[in-house]
Symmetry: C2
């Protein structure tokens, strides 16, 4: 039986970006198949009665340094977008569309980079279009697709299912029934995957 | 120059316990001198505008499993006290007294164990007295000492100074100006201490 994991994320979450950049290495080292679950973090926070840690000024200051430190550890660029928080509803609907069309990974690379490396204003449709074009994605088609009722409904359903599964924030990697919350827990998720890999027939 | 670090904690915090149990190993491996800073976590949370992560039901569920997993990793017993949260004001005042009298470490061992291993009702003075007696500590003297105005004032001052330094929760280990928040950041604090140790003359 091959290893499986479910990854829940929102482009508006800087720690989701720091998790995203770790995934290729984890896949390479464990052979896990990752199922991507775009969700609306704002919806999860609201349903779980949680608040963004970035809402507490002293915690935000500490998180900014903590995230920069992890970015150095992972060897990836990182800039805390000064426009945070941004409403990511159109971007996450776009993720569902991109997933159905088979280009979720390059779309996500572009979204995460625009948000947390280039610190673009991703609440601005013109900027979104520019970022998509830069990634070789048909912006008009994506943005029209993201408006389809079936896409809107699918994002809502995925977000509600995430809350049912125990999410109160993002990112999360589920390995079986075990929930690894936070980009800083991915090394432990990888340990768990290695352990499962060793015990598999 | 010898390595120094400041450790901020409250016995009412289960992650402070999980940090506490890691300290002897870190001291042994790095030679760091730890300065203990008992604080009132409730005061820090209030001043920083923060809430306990345990207040969000889904987060509390996850944290319970997360903390149990770290306890197994550290090889220490752990039980999430069902009476959490407990008002730790008398216990933390007792810590200041114990520190002045030179027995903070055995006092803290007894407090953390009663709270997070034996899951005692540490809001009950009779239970506190029993736990202290079991640790060979003169309970009457400790509890009288904890009521002295100078002790009360010292805990308040230490808590306010912690907020000024950027605390929004506990545990925290400061290495120089670098703040390591959370028991899960101690391995990174240890890395930093090793790095400083190597670069010292």
């Amino acid at each position: 039986m091959s290893l499986q994991a479910d990854f829940y994320f929102d482009y508006g979450s800087p720690t989701s970006y720091l998790a995203w950049v770790q995934l290729p290495g984890i896949v390479e080292r464990t052979g896990v198949t990752i199922h991507y679950k775009p969700i609306l973090l704002g919806g999860v926070l609201k349903a779980a009665g949680n608040a963004s840690p970035m809402d507490v000024p002293a915690k935000r200051n500490w998180m900014a340094r903590d995230m920069a430190s992890f970015a150095r550890r992972y060897g990836v660029p990182f800039r805390l977008n000064p426009l945070f928080p941004i409403n990511t509803l159109p971007l996450m609907r776009g993720a569902i569309h991109a997933q159905r069309e088979g280009f979720l990974v390059p779309y996500s690379d572009a979204m995460f980079r625009a948000m947390w490396v280039d610190a673009r204003d991703m609440s601005n449709p013109a900027v979104i279009a520019e970022v998509l074009a830069g990634a070789g994605i048909d912006a008009a088609r994506l943005m029209a697709g993201a408006q389809e009722p079936g896409i809107k409904e699918a994002l809502k359903a995925e977000t509600e299912a995430a809350v049912q599964r125990g999410l109160f924030g993002a990112p999360v990697l589920f390995v079986g029934d075990e929930m690894f919350f936070g980009q800083d827990r991915l090394p432990y998720a990888e340990e768990q995957l290695r352990s499962l890999g060793r015990s598999a027939p």
